[in-house]
């Protein structure tokens, strides 16, 4: 004991103190270098949901993805995203097959081609995997629910915007996206909705309807043709964001800003910028973020309550210069 206390007394020796400090520093470095790899997810997610989107580049789908991720985090669900890089129904079907073979707990899928998708969705139903369709529906399949926007409403809203913009007097050209002519029904619904708004104004006339095929370049081509062949067209309606941007580009290039009223679709940064500048009068927008959120909720309801409504409408919004600021603020808030 005496030796021990003597030793402790000896600790006052400055060298020993220095040594102890050194050892402490070294052990601290040791400890730190060891801890930085021990970050692990502690929570095991409840379900594994499989998401198939139309493509992986469209801001619309990215927004849906954000909504899904948000919901996944909120409800502790693991989500796996799969999408063809560009629109490709075959690849979507392949993913659907993979999802089926992988016995996931639930599938959220975009439907490109109702006929072929219906078969796969029915297979899933047989394997007891609930399927929620998103943005585009396969009505005749055994899907558990559809989350999206009513296309007719979208068109109608756009028509109302057009009426506001042109004060009920316009010669209108319509560019619809018609990849593979798959969702013709939905496109028709949009046009019908648009027409239902416009038809009550006798001086408004739809002169031309074109369908774009290959993204932004296709839209530009069509737009140039319209401007060239029908110089008296002074209003354009586009039904997706890519076409909207392409048309805008042509209007700017041919120096006809202000002469042509453009009502489009989408809320990408570029589109919002053009709205602010007055190149685009306004766009209608379904709420992709909300779609993502609601689709996960619907699947969860099916898993846990075995019940959900078959159609979940996420609403339509019109974006014009008047509510642009408000819209952007909302979006910024949501991003956080």
């Amino acid at each position: 004991m005496e030796k021990l206390s003597g030793l402790i007394y000896r600790v006052r020796n400055p060298i020993i103190v220095i040594l102890l400090i050194l050892i402490a520093i070294l052990s601290f470095i040791f400890y730190k270098s060891q801890t930085f790899e021990q970050i692990e997810s502690s929570i095991v997610p409840k379900y594994h949901f499989y998401i198939i989107s139309q493509n992986s580049v469209d801001p619309f789908w990215l927004e849906i993805k954000r909504g899904i991720e948000k919901a996944a985090k909120q409800f502790n669900v693991a989500v796996e995203f799969n999408a063809p890089r560009f629109n490709n129904p075959d690849e979507e079907l392949k993913y659907l097959d993979i999802a089926l073979t992988s016995k996931v707990d639930g599938i959220i899928t975009h439907v490109s081609d109702e006929a072929s998708f219906t078969e796969a969705i029915n297979q899933a139903y047989e394997q007891n995997i609930p399927v929620v369709t998103i943005e585009n529906d396969a009505k005749s399949s055994n899907r558990s629910a559809f989350v999206g926007t009513n296309s007719f409403l979208l068109g109608k809203e756009a028509g109302e915007l057009m009426v506001d913009a042109t004060k009920g007097k316009a010669k209108i050209g319509i560019i619809i996206s018609n990849d593979y002519a798959l969702d013709a029904a939905s496109q028709n619904l949009k046009i019908n909705g648009f027409l239902s708004s416009v038809n009550s104004f006798p001086e408004m006339e739809v002169v031309r309807i074109e369908s774009s095929k290959m993204g932004i370049l296709s839209a530009e081509e069509i737009m140039q043709a319209i401007l060239k062949e029908d110089p008296d067209i002074d209003a354009i309606y586009t039904t997706n964001s890519v076409d909207t941007l392409g048309s805008t580009q042509v209007i700017i290039d041919s120096n006809r800003v202000g002469e042509i009223t453009l009502v489009g679709y989408g809320d990408t940064e570029d589109i919002l910028r053009y709205i602010r500048k007055g190149v685009i009068y306004g766009t209608v927008m379904s709420d992709p973020y909300k779609m993502g959120l609601e689709s996960v909720k619907a699947l969860l309801d099916i898993k846990e309550l075995d019940n959900t409504s078959t159609f979940i409408d996420t609403g339509v919004k019109a974006i014009t210069m008047q509510n642009l600021q408000e819209y952007e603020n909302n979006r910024a808030n949501r991003a956080e």
């Binding site: 030796k3 060298i15 020993i16 040594l19 050194l22 050892i23 070294l26 470095i29 040791f30 270098s33 790899e37 997810s41 929570i43 095991v44 997610p45 409840k46 379900y47 594994h48 669900v77 693991a78 796996e80 392949k94 097959d97 993979i98 999802a99 073979t101 992988s102 016995k103 996931v104 707990d105």
Partner: protein, 500 residues
């Protein structure tokens, strides 16, 4: 034994602590480097393990479908054996895949692969069974499905590999960055610990050896005989302190011993000096005494006067008077000699003769003088005015008051190394008391011619010959009414130079 091993004290403890510090420092540094290297290696291994695993999975799936195809087309038993081999392998692998959903994408995908594997195996097995049952339509559809699934699996594995590669490359970048950082840190640590160790080595060595060197210097000084060193002030808590304390004590002790010896030598010296001084004083005293004794007699004037009287008497034709006065003058002339110069015995005897002539003249026939002189020894050296006072004593004390004829014998003879001078009278003699009174009479004789009494003679003889005992110088025999015999015994010395 153990007690001794574990008793850390003093230098041993210091050395052990120093070595421990060094070892721990270097040990920590190298452990840190080793640990880091191992960590890096294991993380690189983690990256590659996934690749290897996925690759082998991919291969096995491909091989499985190939073997199934082979069997379906050729019915080969080798194919079926291989098939079962791959089947069980894949089954094992599928079992090991976690079926828990995860937030990690690669884990999710692996889970998918697991389920797909299960389905693949079911389909493949069904195809094989159908083939065995020879249901051709069925085995083809099962095989097609299996092929589809295997394509899915490969697609997924490819994606997984892509993801892993991406993550791996990211991780690799992070790791290499980390590695460079850590190797830099290692280098710094090694350099730091080296510098620290060198510093510690120097520090400890200086700390340990400084007192020893000091001690050595002091010891060197002392060995050269320089004891005037300051006591060493070394405050360490080890054996060196003990050493230093012992050394200091030793120095102080040696110093005090030397001081003691020096003091004693000084005292002895002083004593000797004192003795010498005493001796000198004594001799001076003796000298002074001698001179004072001799100076009692101052016969200059008397001698000159008597000489003149003798010449006068001769001129007037009174021969007897002239002789008598001449004798008296001689007597005094003898006194005028250098008193500190010794004389020969001859001179002394002559002086006595002179004196006796005077007495004879004075007292005519009332006194008779006989002398028996050994001519051989008359060159011996003695102090002057030695015999005359004794003869005078004999006359004054022994014969003066006597009516009948007085006789005085003077005998000088040699016997051995000694000279005996004997003065004998036939006077009234003395008692013992009187003899002692004569010998030890310190009052100078009142009526002596020379002013020198017997006591004085004895003293001078003693001083001259350096003999302390009175009895060795003089012997007095006396009988009342018969006479006295005084014998002087002196060493026979010729021509001795006395230093004064």
């Amino acid at each position: 034994m153990l007690e001794g091993l574990f008793r850390f004290s003093g230098i041993r403890k210091k050395l052990i602590i120093y070595y421990l510090i060094t070892i721990i420092l270097l040990g920590l540094t190298s452990t840190f480097s080793y640990y880091n290297a191992k960590l890096m290696l294991s993380r690189f291994k983690d990256i590659f393990i996934d690749y290897i695993y996925l690759n082998s999975l991919n291969n096995e799936v491909t091989m499985l479908t190939t073997e199934v195809e082979k069997y379906l087309t050729s019915n080969s038993s080798e194919a079926i054996l291989n098939y079962y081999n791959y089947y069980s392998n894949l089954q094992e692998k599928s079992k090991n895949i976690s079926r828990q959903p995860s937030t990690e994408l690669d884990a999710l995908m692996l889970k998918d692969v697991g389920f797909m594997l299960d389905n693949l195996l079911i389909e493949a097995d069904s195809a094989i069974m159908a083939k065995r049952g020879r249901i051709s339509s069925e085995y083809i559809s099962h095989f097609k499905r299996a092929d589809e699934i295997s394509e899915h699996i490969k697609f997924y594995i490819n994606n997984l590999l892509n993801i892993k590669l991406q993550n791996g490359s990211l991780e690799y970048q992070a790791l290499t960055k980390n590695v460079s950082y850590i190797s830099y840190l290692n280098l710094m640590l090694i350099i730091g610990s080296l510098i620290l160790n060198i510093f510690l080595a120097i520090f400890f060595t200086y700390r340990l050896t400084k007192p020893i060197i000091k001690l050595a210097h002091s010891a060197e000084k002392i060995s050269k005989g320089d004891f005037a060193i300051q006591p060493l002030m070394i405050e360490t808590n080890d054996e060196i302190n003990v050493l230093v304390k012992a050394f200091n004590k030793m120095v102080i002790n040696i110093k005090s011993y030397i001081d003691d010896i020096k003091g004693q030598a000084e005292i002895e010296n002083r004593l000797k000096e004192q003795e010498m001084q005493n001796l000198k004083m004594k001799s001076v005293l003796k000298d002074a005494e001698l001179k004072s004794l001799q100076s009692q007699i101052n016969p200059h004037f008397l001698y000159n006067t008597l000489n003149t009287a003798a010449q006068l008497a001769m001129l007037e034709g009174a021969d007897k008077s002239s002789q008598f006065i001449g004798n008296v003058a001689d007597l005094f002339r003898y006194k005028l000699r250098k008193l500190d110069q010794p004389v020969t015995l001859r001179d002394e005897v002559q002086n006595v003769n002179n004196y006796m002539q005077i007495l004879k003249t004075r007292f005519a026939d009332r006194i008779e003088f006989f002398s028996d002189i050994d001519e051989q020894i008359l060159e011996a050296i003695i102090p002057c005015t030695i015999i005359q006072p004794i003869v005078e004593n004999a006359f004054i004390h022994g014969l003066e008051e006597k009516e009948e004829k007085g006789k005085i014998h003077l005998a000088v003879k040699a016997e051995g190394q000694k000279i005996y001078i004997v003065v004998k009278d036939n006077g009234k003699g003395m008692g013992k008391r009187e003899i002692e009174a004569i010998i030890f009479d310190h009052n100078p004789a009142r009526s002596h011619v020379s002013g020198i009494g017997l006591q004085n003679v004895i003293d001078r003889l003693r001083l001259f010959f350096n003999i302390s005992q009175t009895e060795e110088i003089i012997e007095i025999e006396s009988e009342l009414n018969k006479g006295t015999k005084v014998t002087l015994m002196i060493p026979n010395i010729k021509d001795v130079v006395f230093n004064d």
